[in-house]
């Protein structure tokens, strides 16, 4: 199960990164969002995977999932949302100001492969 979970996280991270390396604003934003999903899963799993732990404190409950990573991930999710929101609006702004949605402000009508 751990291997399965780890693989999933890895694949999500990889896809997110691939998108983040694209040349247009929108895919970059989507990719960073995807990456943040992956990272959240990662961070969550650092407390270990508890399959049937109780969510709330109760006397009959035997084992609990590590609550601290959950709290951290919650914070991370919210911050990630704020950042995504800002960056996507910024992407609109780029389109509005620069006239193209290329991350480097290249014009649309000249699709050039910028060297890197």
């Amino acid at each position: 199960m751990e291997a399965l979970f780890a693989t999933t996280t890895g694949i999500l991270a990889a896809s997110g990164l691939y998108l983040a390396l694209r040349g247009r604003t929108f895919p970059v934003v989507v990719g960073l969002t995807l990456l943040s999903y992956a990272v959240n899963l990662f961070l969550f799993s650092t407390g270990g995977l508890t399959t049937d732990g109780a969510a709330v404190i109760s006397d009959d409950a035997s084992k609990y999932a590590d609550p601290l990573p959950q709290a951290l991930v919650l914070t991370a999710i919210v911050i990630g949302f704020a950042m995504t929101a800002f960056s996507v609006i910024l992407a609109m702004r780029v389109r509005g100001d620069v006239g193209s949605d290329h991350v480097n402000g290249n014009r649309v009508d000249e699709p050039r492969e910028d060297k890197s």
Partner: protein
């Protein structure tokens, strides 16, 4: 006053909130409120520094949850120093902004205060995840402020800045996950205690986390392969904001110093000082590249941005030298470079306003309206940044040069002195072009009193730091000693922290 430690976070937060609740409102009112609050912040900073001088390390347990369980704010010499530095820089740039830059867009003053809150929080917190949170606060605020006034260049540079920092935040979270997953704690002092008792099987993981953190901080501090966001963003930002950003790279520097002296310091066994070699070489490279950039700059803003890069390289190299003397020297240099480069950003903007359409570009243009005062300030700022006597830059560099061991001298001396020479040549070219090659009648624009005050306040720190070099260096040396004595730090936080207090 037990709550003093948290004031640098709460004061700006409350002021910012108060300023943001209503979008409209009288401008003068907002300005006065903002300035007053910033002045109060300066006072708090001074008090904190005064309090920290007795070498006791105090902490403030937020929510009365004792470390390592709750979040704590730690006051030692370094954090106090950084907080005060921030407030002074902020005051200068704020005064400048109040001359009109704040009207370019909405909500300037509130965001400004929240930016300060983020920076101060990052300096004060003793909890690694909380550091992440405050990083995000200061980042999002900086995004918003960078966009202040809008414009094509800003939008463009802004997207790069945002995207890169988002990636950085992801890496930060991964590193946090690794460190928590291996050490099971988030309090830095506690980590520093836990790291000594690590199981050898986990060492590799912890190392990965630690080095990832280095990447993150390096990105913030603009270390060599990660600095790319800096020149454009700083050159594009509105002058007061760019001036305030002078502290942003220092946040990265601060974090590197804190984490790699406290958590992965001498005591860390196999992980001891694992970052310093990297920082040393990358710092030297950054220094060299910054010098090249200064020579290559086509306009003044970019030039100052690269000067900041030079100072970052110097600081990183100083960290890499990893000795008490070097640490003390680089702290002195840090104060100097933050304030003066901030002042230069303001000055350059003021000059650009008086040069008609030439703006900040380093080309022949019309005569300035106030050549005397601007020239004087530019001369002083340039000397200080190039590291020539009799101003503060020279002292910092000389101390760094002295503190280098023989092995380090071979690398540090030529590069540091060479970068100084490069800055000297570049700045003399800029100066003679702007003040001497000017021709044609003057533009009507002149510098308002607020702008003069703000700029002068920051630039004049260079001579002041020379006049009071004795006490300041004494303080920084003591700070360095305190930093390297991590046992005292851990003692004063964990020893009392064993019993978790209830609310």
């Amino acid at each position: 006053m037990q709550h003093l430690i948290i004031l640098p976070v709460l004061l700006p937060l409350l002021t910012g909130v108060a300023l943001l609740i209503h979008r409209g409102g009288a401008l003068t009112l907002r300005r006065t409120a903002n300035v007053l609050s910033t002045i109060a912040l300066v006072v708090v900073g001074v008090l904190l520094v005064a309090e920290s001088t007795d070498d006791a390390i105090r902490y403030y347990a937020v929510g009365d949850w004792q470390p390592p369980f709750g979040i704590i704010l730690v006051l030692d010499r370094l954090s106090a120093l950084m907080v005060m530095l921030t407030s002074v820089l902020a005051l200068g740039s704020l005064l400048y902004a109040c001359a009109g830059d704040d009207e370019q867009g909405s909500n300037f003053h509130g965001l400004f205060q929240l930016q300060l809150m983020g920076i101060n929080g990052a300096f004060l917190t003793g909890d690694l995840f909380n550091l992440f949170v405050f990083f995000e606060v200061l980042l999002i605020a900086s995004y918003a402020l960078l966009m202040h006034g809008g414009g094509k260049a800003r939008t463009h540079a802004g997207f790069h800045y945002v995207a890169l920092n988002l990636l950085g935040s992801m890496l930060f979270l991964i590193a946090l996950g690794i460190l928590y997953g291996t050490m099971g704690t988030l309090n830095m002092a506690d980590m520093s205690a836990v790291v000594t008792t690590l199981d050898t099987a986990d060492l590799g993981l912890v190392k990965a986390g630690a080095l990832l953190l280095l990447i993150v901080f390096g990105l913030k501090a603009a270390m060599l392969p990660l600095y790319f966001w800096l020149p454009r963003a700083y050159a594009a930002a509105p002058a007061p904001i760019a001036a305030l950003f002078a502290i942003m790279t220092k946040v990265g520097i601060y974090s590197i110093i804190r984490v790699y002296t406290l958590i992965f310091g001498e005591q860390a066994g196999p992980l001891a000082n694992l970052a310093q070699p990297w920082v040393w070489w990358l710092g030297l490279a950054t220094l060299a590249l910054g010098a090249i950039g200064v020579l290559s700059a086509r306009d003044m803003r970019t030039q100052v941005a690269y000067l900041i890069l030079v100072s970052v390289g110097t600081l990183l190299a100083g960290i890499g030298m990893h000795s008490e003397a070097a640490l003390g020297a680089l702290l002195y240099y840090l104060i100097h470079t933050t304030l003066v480069s901030g002042g230069l950003f303001l000055l350059v903007d003021a000059i650009a306003q008086q040069r008609g359409k030439a703006g900040a570009r380093i080309v022949q243009s019309r005569t300035l309206a106030q050549p005397a005062i601007l020239g004087l300030m530019f001369f002083a700022g340039a000397i200080a940044m190039a590291g020539l006597p009799p101003l503060s830059g020279a002292f910092g560099k000389a101390m760094l040069l002295q503190s280098a061991t023989t092995a380090q001298q071979h690398w540090l001396w030529p590069i540091l002195l060479g970068s100084g020479l490069a800055s000297l040549i570049a700045l003399s070219r800029t100066g003679s072009t702007i003040f001497w090659r000017a021709s044609g009648e003057k533009t009507g624009v002149t510098l308002g009193p607020l702008r003069v005050t703000g700029t002068l306040m920051l630039i004049s720190c260079a001579p002041l730091m020379v006049a009071f070099a004795g006490p300041i260096t004494a303080f920084t040396q003591a700070t360095a000693a305190q930093l390297l004595d991590r046992d005292a730090y851990v003692e004063s936080i964990i020893a009392r922290g064993d019993t978790g207090g209830d609310a």
